[in-house]
């Protein structure tokens, strides 16, 4: 057999364990393998009981996010050979409850996502007869935020979310901003209650790691800081012109 590399994989069986431990596996070190390929090798050849999520294998579905040597990564686009000679430590995404081995619970995240209403909200009875025309500049205003795949790597990179699990978090705020900046949307006012509160944008301390780890080069940190600016302007406006919103 060719060269091998050691993988230290987090194991947790909720019926048996009180906390996760690491199990070492020896897998072939192939130049074209991603970390996910190595995990599938373990599942197929060494230990079928290993639990982890994956689907598309091409960085689109956002299922296979894990901690690789302490850094949140999509395992389907992280080359195994870059960690040679190893060992490589694979753990579940940080700050999330662990259901089994590398599988985390995402209920909390999905709840937050729903709260920010990440869809086009209209006040009027909008029944378009033809396509809604947007200028390239209008598209550019929100385009980067549409690339989010909800992989939750930004949450795993955010110590604020680790310390306060109620924090709305980078991806949900970036998606809220994606619709706030969309010229078709009229729901910005409705999102303010969720965003402009302590657990929303004001919890963020601008560490900026969410933007660094994003596999799709979305900049959630920018979305949060820009929304802080918007919320401050709105607050001043409501204070100076209290009749403005009536």
């Amino acid at each position: 057999m060719a060269e091998t590399i050691l993988l230290e994989v987090a194991r947790f069986l909720p019926e048996r364990d009180t906390e996760p431990s690491y199990q070492t596996f020896e897998v072939p070190l192939r130049g074209d393998w991603m970390i996910l390929d190595a995990l599938n090798y373990i599942k197929d050849q060494l230990d079928g009981s290993l639990g982890f999520r994956w689907s598309c294998r091409m960085g689109i579905c956002g299922s296979c996010g894990m901690m690789v040597n302490g850094v949140p990564k999509l395992t389907c686009e992280t080359l195994l050979s870059t960690f040679a000679p190893g060992p490589v430590r694979i753990g579940p995404l940080e700050h999330f409850p662990v259901i089994k081995d590398l599988v985390i619970e995402m209920e909390g995240f999905l709840g937050k996502l729903q709260k920010v209403q990440p869809w086009v909200v209209r006040k009027d009875d909008f029944k378009p007869q033809r396509e809604f025309i947007q200028t390239p500049a209008q598209l550019e205003a929100f385009k980067q935020y549409t690339l989010c795949i909800n992989c939750m790597l930004c949450y795993a990179a955010c110590p604020v979310f680790g310390l306060d699990p109620e924090f709305t978090g980078p991806a949900a705020i970036a998606l809220a901003e994606r619709y706030n900046l969309d010229s078709r949307d009229q729901g910005a006012e409705g999102r303010t209650d969720v965003l402009s509160q302590h657990d929303g944008i004001w919890d963020c301390t601008v560490i900026g790691e969410c933007s660094q780890v994003c596999p799709k080069h979305v900049d959630p940190s920018l979305a949060i800081q820009q929304y802080k600016l918007t919320a401050t302007k709105e607050w001043f406006k409501s204070w100076l012109l209290p009749w403005g919103n009536k």
Partner: protein, 136 residues
Amino acid sequence: MPQYSQFQPKPYRPRMSAFWYFDRWPYLLFVLREISSFFVAYFAVLVLVQIYALSADPTVYAAFQACMRNPLMIILNAVTLLFMLLHAATWFNLVPRVMAREMTGRQLSDLMVAAPNYFVFFGASVIIALFILRIL
């Protein structure tokens, strides 16, 4: 949240270490950036004390100078200088992120927003240095 039963056991809830900021360099840099505020506050108070000493009679200022020559004060002020530089640089770099993005219809690059801050900072530092070195 789902209800947990015998067949759907409770997940493991990780707790963050009290020393989480030693886990990764960007976290440590963030904490150092926040700590730098203490040094900024200390230096602001020091400058106020210096101005007070200057406005009082010369013996008070001489005492202040003697105090500043203490090796411990020199070490403290050297550390303060490093933290002040970190404070300035980290916040200058954040300026483009908290500025209104739209100006004159097109977006300014991060460099275009951050650069004037550095320019003024270095310009002011050079002028003050020239005064202190009695060149001006």
